[in-house]
């Protein structure tokens, strides 16, 4: 299995405030990675660096064996942002139109709405079980349904790696479990490598097969089961003292 992302000794500051310090890890093809850490631990920053939304200050990142600065994303990496939950509810767009945004870079210069693109859009909607909502206004859907539409938008272009930043914010607790099942399906059936960012370690460890704990620097990277089997004390040490408050639910 090849490495899709390699992060090497990355340190990042905003003004004088250090948010990441000497962070290194690799993301292997086929993995379902849980990236956890408390608020302000640098999770969103490392995501932005991997997506090329921010410039690497110190250290290096390679994506698909290319330095991130030279990597031009043509659909290999896709993204579901935290902000997807806070878009304007009055935005006049149907679910189908929102999913079509995921095909923007694939479409050639001459791009009529060909049957092929329509088919891809419907296929993605079907994959997230939202086919019958294709013509509904995005603002009329529930938080969980909207998030499924954003997943459809993210996978319509057939990405190899999908990064999700706190995707369950705004999704009701009863739908969260279904949501994780959908992600596992994408990982197993479509072979999409997933990085799921969360501050809630409790639910995440049962679904992912690779756990990465970040709090400015990497505190743990490995099998989530090994992490679960540790005592609370051991976990606290690995985590850094700021994470003591997070308890494990089962």
């Amino acid at each position: 299995m090849s490495h899709l992302i390699e992060v090497n000794n990355v340190t990042h500051r905003y003004d004088h405030h250090k948010v990441l310090e000497d962070v290194s890890f690799t993301i292997t093809e086929g993995d379902f990675v849980g990236l956890v850490g408390p608020n302000g631990s640098g999770k969103t920053t490392i995501i932005k660096l991997m997506l090329g939304l921010e410039k690497v200050q110190k250290g290096s990142i390679t994506a698909f064996n290319k330095p991130i600065e030279k990597f031009h994303n043509k659909g290999h990496i896709s993204f579901v942002s935290q902000k997807a939950n806070s878009f304007s509810r009055d935005f006049p767009a149907t679910a189908k139109e929102v999913v079509s945004m995921g095909l923007t870079t694939k479409a050639s210069v001459w791009r009529p709405t060909t049957k092929k693109y329509e088919y891809l859009i419907f296929e993605a909607l079907d994959r997230v079980n939202m086919l019958k909502y294709a013509n509904h206004n995005i603002g009329d859907l529930s938080g969980g349904q909207q998030q499924r539409i954003f997943i459809a938008r993210a996978i319509v272009n057939n990405p190899k790696l999908l990064i999700l930043d706190e995707p369950t914010v705004g999704v009701d607790t009863e739908n969260v479990e279904q949501f994780y099942q959908l992600l596992s399906q994408l990982n197993r059936e479509l072979g999409i490598t997933l990085i799921l960012v969360s501050h809630d370690i409790g639910t995440i460890t049962t679904h992912v097969n690779d756990l990465l704990c970040l709090n400015k620097s990497v505190h743990y990277h490995g099998n989530p089961n090994d992490f679960e089997n540790m005592t609370d004390e051991q976990r606290s040490i690995i985590y850094g003292h700021t994470m003591n408050t997070i308890t494990h639910h089962h």
Partner: protein, 281 residues
């Protein structure tokens, strides 16, 4: 007006220009409204006024100059657009501050140029409120070129513009070159505003970009529908507004905007009644 349209070229030019801006203003307006940048057209129209006043001043002082106030208006508008876009990058967390800055500079410059050109005259009045008899054939050609440019760009970049308006972060991650598209879009807006000013005037041009869109958004189910309905509302307002303006000798800016506002009010009312009817079953 139909008879007059056939007989007077200048009225014909106005009417054609009206039809073109009735399409272009709501078309760009849809993207502007959903990006919550409605006030950008106000900022740009006041910068255009500065350009027009500069043109009037130049015409007065140097009569031989080939440039008309219309041309200098376009030039200032595009310049203002570039300034706004740059300011939006400088003040990332307070992007809307770019608009009052350019608006006030525009008004300030206008006051200075108008005073230097010895005060308000009928020309300025026509630029402020629009006129049914102000479009020369040369102006019409400039508007036509603008229309062709805008329609070609929107056709090619529709998906990019749509994606950027909805979710800039996702669009950027998917490889869309946000910066260059934003510049292109705001320059198109500047051109359309300069073109619309002959018909609706500086003070009311932003209404033609926002009122039809506000009306369409209450009815449309999709983004494409919003654009189509906006254009229908825009064209209806322009056509009825120009004809009534001509008959009652009122600057068409006023009549067009009043018609657009009536359409908005009617749509809101009818929608409310209809929803109440459905609700009652």
């Amino acid at each position: 007006m139909l008879e007059a349209l056939l007989n007077f070229e200048i009225l014909r030019n106005t009417f054609y220009t009206g039809l073109i801006v009735g399409l272009l203003a709501p078309l760009l307006g849809t993207f502007i409204v959903v990006r919550r940048l409605s006030l950008i057209s106000d900022g740009l129209s006041h910068v255009t006024l500065a350009g027009i006043s500069f043109g009037l001043l130049m015409q007065k002082k140097y009569t031989l100059l080939m440039l008309t106030p219309f041309h200098t208006g376009i030039f200032f508008s595009v310049l203002g657009a570039i300034v706004i876009e740059n300011l939006r990058h400088v003040y990332k967390s307070f992007q809307e501050i770019a608009i009052p800055i350019t608006l006030s500079i525009g008004v300030g410059l206008s006051v200075v140029f108008i005073a230097l050109a010895d005060g308000i005259n009928t020309d300025i009045y026509a630029y402020l409120f629009g006129s049914v008899a102000a479009v020369s054939r040369a102006d019409l050609y400039v508007v036509l070129v603008t229309a062709v440019f805008v329609i070609i760009v929107i056709t090619f970049l529709y998906k990019e513009l749509f994606a950027l308006s909805f979710d800039e972060e996702f669009a950027t991650v998917s490889g869309i070159r946000a910066k260059i598209i934003h510049y292109l879009f705001i320059i198109m807006t500047a051109l359309v505003i300069a073109a619309s000013i002959r018909i609706v005037g500086v003070l009311l041009v932003s209404a033609l970009m926002t009122l039809p869109v506000a009306t369409a958004m209450r009815l449309a189910k999709s983004f494409k529908q919003t654009i189509i309905f906006s254009i229908i509302y825009g064209e209806t307002s322009v056509i009825i507004g120009l004809i009534t303006g001509y008959y009652f000798e009122i600057p068409p800016g006023g009549t067009i905007v009043i018609i657009a506002a009536i359409l908005l009010a009617l749509t809101l009312l009818i929608k409310k009644w209809y929803s109440a009817y459905i609700y009652r079953g």
